[in-house]
Amino acid sequence: MNNAVENKFILSHLWVAFIAFILACFMGVYQVLERSGFIEALTSPSVYFASVSTHGVLMAFVLTTFFIMGFGYYVASTSLKMPIWNKPLAWTGFSIALGGTVLAAIPLLIGKASVLYTFYPPLLAHVSFYIGATLLVVGSWFWCAIMVVMFYQWKNANPNQPVPLAMFATTANALLWLWTSAGVALEVLFQLIPLALGWMDTIDPGLARTLFAWTLHPIVYFWLIPSYTAFYVFVPKQAGGFLFSDEMARVAFIILVVFGLPIGFHHLYMDPEQASGWKLLHAFGTFVVSFPTLITGFTVIASLEIAGRLRGGKGLFGWIGTLPWTNPMTLSVILALLMLIFGGFGGLVNASYAMNAMVHNTAWVPGHFHLIFGGTTIIMYFAIAYYFWPILTRKPLFSDSLALIQLWTWFIGMAIMTTPWHVLGLLGQPRRISSVAYNSLLTLSWDPYEFVMIFGGFVLLGSACLFIYNVAKTQLSSASAEFVQQVEYAEPIHAVESLPEYLNDFKLWNKVIAVLMFISFGVPILQFFFMDTFGSSGWGY
């Protein structure tokens, strides 16, 4: 099924993703050291903010986008048993995205784009940063188009058949990404690039923030969906069991996409340019989206229980011990769920409309999203990589035990690093500072937590290096004669015979999304054109 060219194509995506990842990890360690203020010689706001901006862009945009594209191509070709449609187009998308990444990386690294990964107009970066970021997104749209085409090609060739769950989820993600990247694309094309080129004198930061909020929450689901896909389609099989429910998985993905899209406003709770009624509406939507995560948690744990019992586990909790804890995929899902519970709790606090004021823009927030994104999401990316590398390179994994050590240290490092951040947030420490310059007694209480944070950062860097070492060694080892491994998708415990069309297609859901997006963003965006607003000119930093 998967020929050598296809494997190379997918590996190219994954390597770009993980090279971005390891560079960003080194910057992360520098950042925890710098901001603690313990090492005088490191103090430099300009280097710090250049580093934070690059770390954010590499982790949130480059690692994720390339990983998701590579993952999607592989899932599409193996689950549908079809070659990737239009490979020249796919390579074109890859090249545009890579070119954009390089174009954005240059100003970032020389400190000409220290506007952080959320851009922060009216701060103004070098124009090549915005153009590069746009090209990265444009490149990923090629991937979206190819996923949608392959979905319908398969559907037309197999009428009335349920689309394989893995492909259903991947297509859902492609559609989600098309919808959500439109917000930031509008901001960059109509506000930031014209301002950076001097075509416009001023922009409205209120409008810019609203457009960015359109993208800013669903993008999190774009990153998360491959991890959820692995929960559903790889974990049950790897653990030795069956998927508890195929249909509920589809329901979860649909709700994630349909209700995840129109809820970005909780990033604007503390902003003056939107009225409270709209914020309340978005708060409501935000809680709706906790539903698919709770369903996912249930289905995954139920699938693990089936596996544990099939392996001889008895009693209420006996099945937990019999799970194959030494299988990287199984171990990862357990650690991912643990981090999801704590990170999810923090998320509920953030989402709570008025409670948010206590923690907004404090160290609590990076504590929360490093658990959910850096923890839950990325640990599944590792698990997928450990699973795919031997298949794609046709060589066994260099070291299974190193993989297990790596996953455990990632979990432990994340726990050590994010716990003090949550406390520091409650103690009022702002998130985006390069040093603690405040001449206030309060800041003395922050010091001990800074030590713990640094320790956690080093554990994470060590773990990240182990990961790269393991996959690189796998790839560079000389081919062993007949190592052939195929990807295996989990079977549902009840075979899906027929599905209602709304669980097997997205046409209806796209219409629902259009209506919901109009309701939740129509007036909040149009108001900027009704009322007298005053633009801001661009500022350096």
Binding site: G206, E247, L280, L294, I295
Partner: protein
């Protein structure tokens, strides 16, 4: 379509949990009036000094005829103006914040006085401080390379000791 009865039960439980959280937020917002700072009011950041309200003489703490306290503050890289203010505890205080340049955020740690300050808009927050003491006022949104140094102080004075001395003196390091 097949849904396991146990899963159906869990789905209702999950919906119930989300519903409970949403109802608490709704009751707080609609009945107790606890809302996020939202005051859609525009202002020309480039001409603040010409506006009546945010001209330099009008900044700081003002008490009106009804005894309502309003604090007007300007945020600009890299300081809040005025640098030090003093307000009574356990009293409603309305803050009105504007920016002269870029995005700022303001947070008084250990309290729920927090808002973004977006150029072009007036950020208005009404709150009260339960505990007297000296608090830092921190810029909590990245506003440029001097962002770390953007902070000022607020003294929360016990209600009975506070006198309505408007425009508290501007001191360099009021610690």
């Amino acid at each position: 379509m097949h849904i396991d009865p146990l899963e159906r039960k869990w789905a209702y439980t999950a919906l119930g949990m989300a519903g409970l959280f949403v109802s608490i937020i709704m009751v707080d917002a609609l009945i107790h009036g606890i809302n996020a700072p939202s005051h859609v009011e525009t202002i020309d950041s480039a001409r603040l000094h010409l506006s009546e309200e945010f001209a330099e003489d009008n900044l700081g703490v003002k008490v009106d005829a009804q005894g309502d306290i309003t604090v007007r503050m300007v945020a600009g890289r890299y300081s809040f103006y005025p640098k030090h203010i003093s307000v009574p505890s356990e009293t409603k205080v309305t803050f009105r914040w504007v920016s002269t340049d870029v995005l700022h955020g303001v947070h008084i740690p250990m309290t729920n006085m927090s808002t973004m300050i977006v150029p072009g808009y007036v950020a208005q927050v009404t709150t009260s401080f339960p505990k007297p003491g000296e608090y830092p006022v921190l810029c909590n949104e990245y506003c440029g390379l001097g962002h770390d140094h953007m902070w000022s102080n607020i003294s929360v004075v016990a209600k009975e000791n506070w006198t309505a001395s408007t425009n508290a003196p501007v001191t360099g390091d009021a610690k």
